[in-house]
Amino acid sequence: MTRKHVHIAFAVIALALLIFVPLGQKNYILYVLTSWLMFSIAAMGLNLTLGYAGQISLAQASFMGIGAYVTALITLAGYHWVFGWLAAMGLTFVIGLLLGYPALRVQHHFLAFVTLAFNTIVFLVLRNEDWLTGGNHGLVGMPRPDFFGISTGRNLQFYYFVLVLFVISAGVFFWIVNSPWGRAFKALRENPVRAESLGVDTRRITLLAFAIGSAFGGGAGAIMSPLVQFIEPGSFALIHSLKILLMVVVGGAGFFYGPMLGAAVVILLPEVLRFTDGYYLMIYAALVIVLMVYSPSGLIGIGQKLMQQIRPRQEVRKDMAKGAQL
């Protein structure tokens, strides 16, 4: 079996689990699973921007917010959800592209501050422009869509609807990161000057990394409107961008399954730790610190370390460098 076969087998098993596990579950479990899928999509986008292309962004929740509000306004006006979804992704793509411009001039912590400020601006607009966004009261009553006469109104049906979107998003993500674009994103992360000297248009690739990553955020936001059927500015504040960042980093930035794993941990761990009462945040924070110290490449990184200990790779004799002596 080649690596490719292992990957396909893993994807098939994972998909089967995603299809069968929710059957017969209570509404609460269905809600948690659905929001995990939704956050996985948002984290996938940030994984592209940050994990693959190396551009720090602390604004992913604001793109979810833009997507959620656009979808809410469009569906509340009586149009089908699909139009809201397309508009959400299109608009966040364009805004993400614009947010990418500062990244052409500043890097690292300066870029973090720029994106942080952007998140704050979006939050303030959502809160203050009552006429459009309902201000602090937010928007309520967004309908769940029908597709060819099939309703997604019940929680299990809605879960499967989101699962389909998740699979589409993961497929698109997989396609992009494995295309020559994906290689260019990684090259941008690893050594932008060298990449430019090899013909990579690093300006364009930087902007695309922001635009595509943001569009995934917008797509996730378009799910949130009909999922919770109530949106307010507080759901898209800076803290939620940090939460999505945590998902990417905990899972493993730059790995395909990283953000999905990270989203599961970030959403589920607080639930699991609830029995510890007031201490759960502290325990949670401590676990994250330990993880980052032990494995900066997240849980996937730990998995890889373990795999290598079980099955040491056939090391070429690098130190001797025999083979490359011509």
Binding site: S179, A195, A321, A324, L326
Partner: protein, 248 residues
């Protein structure tokens, strides 16, 4: 049509009070292997970066394949057929050797859109494997570039400069920090490439033996100025050069 691939006219560049390059002019003909030598700090890298549009010279003009390169972006210059390496080792450590080499060619294939919707290797696996074989790195093909020894990474770095089939290649200290055996093989590969493809080279190098045996013509820089120019034998015998090296 002239046979002049690179023409440098009156380039000067200073950083604050330091005049790094002073009124330098030279031409490079097609197929030539030009060596650029000089003591540390004599302005070689600065001159390179002016030639490649990475730095903006205070005055002077650079023409490559009849294109003026002033203010041209490095990616654009690369598409005009100019490959280069940097003095610092510059590979993509978290990508496999194969991916490093494919990246070095992919931007020359098709359009932005075709690179998204086309095959994931941009149809370059065969060409990349040939380049990897040329530099005798086959056994390292699927290793992460960052896990290779310094000398092996230098070879990957050089291989990337050739992947797009450039007409002019500028190498900044390709032999720097490379052990003796590796040095011989690097020289052999560069010579072979030049012979087989007629590619023009400009090579900055500290290692005198390496330059003397590889290059067809040598320019010597000292304190930003050309102090000598000629065939390797002439340079070796030039008293001014000996003084600059031993005295400097």
């Amino acid at each position: 049509m002239t046979d002049t691939v690179l023409s440098v006219r009156g380039i000067s560049k200073s950083f604050g009070g330091i005049q790094a390059v002073r009124d330098v002019s030279f031409d490079v003909q097609k197929g030539e292997v030009l060596g650029l030598i000089g003591p540390n700090g004599s302005g070689k890298s600065t001159l390179f970066n002016c030639v490649l549009g990475q730095l903006r010279p205070d005055s002077g003009q650079v023409t490559i394949n009849d294109h003026k390169v002033a203010n041209m972006r490095a990616s654009h210059l690369n598409k005009l057929g100019v490959g280069r390496t940097f003095q610092q080792l510059s590979v993509f450590p978290q990508m496999s050797v194969l991916d490093n080499i494919i990246l070095a060619g992919q931007e020359h294939k098709g359009s932005m859109a075709s690179r998204l919707f086309g095959p994931s290797d941009a149809g370059l696996t065969r060409a990349a494997d040939q380049m990897i074989a040329f530099f005798r790195l086959e056994h390292l093909r699927d290793e992460m570039a960052g896990s290779l020894s310094y000398g092996q990474q230098k070879l990957v770095d050089a291989a990337m400069a050739f992947m797009a089939g450039p007409s002019l290649v500028l190498l900044d200290e390709p032999a720097g920090g490379v052990n003796l055996t590796m040095l011989g093989s690097l020289k052999d590969r560069l010579e072979t490439y030049n012979r087989e493809h007629g590619t023009t080279f400009v090579v900055i190098e500290h290692n005198m033996e390496f330059v003397m045996s590889l290059c067809t013509r040598i320019i010597v820089l000292a304190e930003g100025e050309i102090i000598a120019e000629g065939a390797p034998e002439e340079i070796r015998a030039n008293q001014q050069v000996i003084d600059a090296y031993l005295g400097g």
